[in-house]
């Protein structure tokens, strides 16, 4: 029930925030903050109450099942495992920051703004929790509309175009996923006679290779666009750069993660054979994304656009890791999801601070802020370093684990992916160079961070440091769930090894292993 309450709280909070505008202009902000913080506390409470080593047993911590449309086999299933729990923590943490960051930035129609903000978060929470594919699609769409409004109403100059593009891309790809969900539903129904959208039941479906491939591409369409992977990324820079700061944080920090989450939760366990087939291509796309995103990031002059392209680059690691199919890589992916959410979110926040002061996002017009605003400079430095993967900060752990895992799957692609780290250094340092160190083009005063802004930044700094220095709790929490996603592959591997053992002598076996 607690899972349901989390979603209900956000939705009800949203409606209340909208209505409360009439009574007092600040009330929506407090209501939104209160709703999100309550959820954050609930999630923390769940996390701390969880015994760390539940590896052996089922990874599911809580499950809730209520019949919804029994005629179609649709149930309202919410379930929580380590992966979902981590994602929820991230969601609520960034959600609370998004409310705080908008405290001064958003001054028009605050009621409706917070309604949208809370409903996006509710949609995202639902996506991370639901284990019924109908419901999953439902929440997947619920995130879109409010996000569209966030960009379209409160965005920057070119907001309408960006909002349209975002909406059409995600909606089109989502519909393909809906088709795939229906395909899976009917395949499973005709095999077993039980028509259901229940994820746990659908896992048992046996698919012939062609059907599996088609259905997997349906799911991939939605997730790869959301992630985004390179040929489908073009909505991202526009949406990210035109959105208000809170919108950018949610887009980069959370919406992209739903794509990664979908890959982990649905594509891997549902279509193991097809995914194995597709893996080299997916990893190739990942590497292309890493390098392409990095190069484009380097050539941007719009600060938010620059950060947006770094997301493309970082998300390349996610798909590289997901399709490596081993525990190392997936641990890396989970870490990457969290660390990227924090570091990129923080960079957008800094871009937001600068925009508020200068009313521009053009880095050509910035410079010399290190001496003018030292606090901001230090905080920016920390997150720029995180973004380039400096050891001691969260992103390093993530990228390291991902690369170790993907090396075992594909050596050459990993080599190229590593080049991405070098490029990341180049574009990250360019941010520092241009914005903070170079001599100032104009001599405008730049007030340093206020206490509210420090209140936003410092927890993020603490979090990213913690992730970098002591990531073990995160890894422990994610492990059972990751093993669950990989179960199908480990079985496949065991079978293969058995065959190998019969046929080839010991010496060759080790070669076989290392090339895996």
């Amino acid at each position: 029930m607690i899972l349901l309450w989390m979603i209900v709280l956000l939705m009800a909070g949203g409606v209340l925030a909208w209505l409360s505008k009439k009574w007092h202009p600040v009330l929506p902000r407090w209501i939104a903050l209160f709703a999100i913080l309550t959820d954050l506390i609930l999630a923390l409470f769940l996390w701390l109450g969880t015994p760390t080593a539940v590896t052996g047993s089922s990874p599911w911590l809580i499950r809730l099942e209520i019949p919804w449309i029994p005629q179609w086999g649709v149930n309202f299933i919410l379930a929580l495992d380590g992966l979902s729990l981590l994602m929820l923590l991230l969601t609520f943490f960034l959600g609370a920051l998004a409310v705080l960051i908008s405290w001064r930035e958003i001054n028009t129609k605050t009621g409706f703004f917070h309604f949208n903000l809370l409903w996006v978060l509710a949609g995202i929470t639902g996506v991370f929790l639901t284990m019924d594919l109908f419901l999953f699609y439902f929440f997947w769409e619920v995130m879109l509309i409010p996000m569209y409004f966030l960009i379209g109403v409160w965005g920057h100059a070119n907001r309408n175009y960006a909002a349209y593009k975002f909406f059409l891309f995600t909606q089109a790809s989502g519909l393909l996923m809906l088709l795939a969900i229906l395909g899976l539903y009917f395949t499973h129904g005709s095999q077993t006679g039980m028509y259901t959208f229940n994820y746990f039941e659908l896992l048992e479906t046996t698919l012939d290779p062609l059907a599996a491939r088609l259905l997997m591409f349906g799911f991939l369409a939605a997730f790869l666009v959301k992630l985004p992977v390179v040929p489908f990324h073009s909505w991202l820079p526009d949406a990210h750069s035109e959105a208000p700061t809170a919108g950018s944080i949610i887009l980069a920090g959370l919406l992209l993660k739903t794509g990664a989450y979908g890959l982990l939760r649905f594509v891997l366990p549902l279509f193991p054979d097809a995914a194995l087939e597709f893996a080299p291509w997916a990893m190739l796309l990942g590497v292309v994304g890493i390098i392409y995103g990095a190069i484009l990031a380097f050539s941007q002059t719009d600060l938010k656009r620059l950060v947006a392209y770094t997301s493309v680059s970082h998300m390349g690691f996610v798909i590289l890791g997901v399709f490596a199919f081993n525990t190392w890589a997936l641990q890396g992916v989970v870490m990457q999801m969290i660390a990227h959410g924090l570091s990129t979110g923080a960079l957008f926040i800094i871009a937001g601070f600068l925009y508020e002061r200068l009313h521009t996002r053009d880095i050509q017009q910035m410079g010399g802020f290190w001496s003018k605003a030292p606090k901001m400079g230090v905080i920016a430095l920390i997150f720029v370093m995180a973004s380039l993967g400096l050891p001691g900060l969260g992103n390093f752990i993530a990228e390291f684990l991902t690369l170790v895992g993907s090396w075992q799957a594909n050596n050459w692609l990993t080599v190229f992916a590593t080049i991405g780290l070098v490029l990341a250094t180049v574009y990250s340092l360019r941010i520092m160079q241009k914005v903070f160190y170079e001599p100032a083009p104009t001599d405008r005063p730049l007030p340093d961070l206020t206490s509210r802004e420090m209140l936003i930044s410092l927890p993020m700094v603490a979090m990213i440091l913690w992730l970098g220095l002591y990531p073990q709790p995160i890894l422990d929490t994610a492990l059972p769930s990751i093993n669950q996603q990989l179960k199908a592959y480990q079985e496949l591997e065991v079978e293969e090894k058995k065959v190998v053992l019969v046929e080839v002598p010991e010496a060759e076996l080790s070669i076989e292993k290392s090339s895996k």
Partner: protein, 486 residues
Amino acid sequence: MSQNDFLHLMPLLILTFAALLIMLVIAAWRNHKIIYVITAISFVAAFLSLFELRAVTEYTIEPLLVIDGFAVFYMGLMLATALLISMLSYAYFEQQKEQKEEYYILLILATLGACVLVISKHFASLFLGLEVLSVALYALISYLRVRERSDEAGIKYLILAAFSSAFLLFGMALVYFSTGTMTFEGIAAAMSGYRELPMLLLAGFGMMIIGIGFKLSVVPFHMWTPDVYEGAPAPVTAFVATVSKGGVLGLLIRFFMEVDGFRYPTLMLIFTIVAIASMFAGNLLALMQQNVKRILAYSSISHLGYLLVAFLAGSQMGVEAVTFYLVAYFITTVGAFGVIAMLSDNSRDAEQMDDFRGLLWRRPWTATAFTAMLLSLAGIPLTAGFVGKFYVLAAGMNTQKWLLVSMLVLNSVIGLYYYIKIIAVMFQQPDTEKEPAVKLRPSIYIASVGTLAVLTLLLVWVGVYPTALVDMIQGMFAEVPALVAR
């Protein structure tokens, strides 16, 4: 006719009686409010009389009519929709200069026609129902005679509808010529021998499809739609878009189920082409429009295309999906035109994009209702439109209609663009503060506001908890032999 016959025809009799009564009342005393109340009461009474018939399995009045669960459901749908439309009409017509009272007679008669359509099982009753519907519509569409567009639309509809009726009649004649009967089951029996349709019969069906297609406004018989939608008064447009189409669709389903038209690849091919063409033409042409009524007109063409996808599935699930989608579509369309009607004044309807600019900041509740309607048309979750579209897709997937299903998905994406366009306009900042010049007393709007609120709540309720509606549809259709056989 026995007493039982009267009992089973009670809804129709109530409507007929109401039309006569209103005529007499007008002769004695012209008063908009009283006529409006009589209309509303008679719709409610007709609707309530359906509850008596709920459990009916199959009651035939030879040779013309049949009343079964399917008919009862569709009649209920028509009557409820007509009631809602009459609720929305009151404020709209209160501000017009014309005589308002005859409007309600015509509305009742048109509804009567649509109800006859869904219970007919004979060409004679079919044609009778269709003509009662059409003739009433000719007058309804051009009701506001001082408006040029309204006149134009009425004449256009008159000419084209008469033309299509002629086709329909000729088609019926050809079918009669080759089968020797005009009852649906007689035709079915005569056709059961054929594996392939003989040329003459096919020609007859083809011509009937022209007549039916015109009423449904599917491509290529859609030319009248945007002009009529634009010219007709907003509540009438809502009626044309919903009740008139729903009645014909109900008839089409009954006829096709009876004769099992799904066996014949030629007919399937025709309908497939019509469905795909309607989806594309409707959506692509809507992209270029600036007039909200015209956008909704083209969108209705594409929605009929979606409906045909489920219809072509040809299974019981398909019929359920069509019906569910129809309910969702009715709620949405009546709601959308209701908003337009509410924003209109006595000189013109609120149909330009400019009328909606910044609506959310001027009239937040109206704008929210309209946004919900548009999102439902676009098939976004939390609205009835989403569940409807889902049902249609599921029906199509279930019978492996891959082509149709993928076209539907593609078109949903195209369709999104223009719905979002209207929503985006509503969210823009208004350039100037403008308010309607003459405002009526707020009490007059109560009916409209209440109806819109009910529609919006229904929309969300069906979208969030469709179980009840699905249950109802399945329950009502469970006893219909033609459906259960499939």
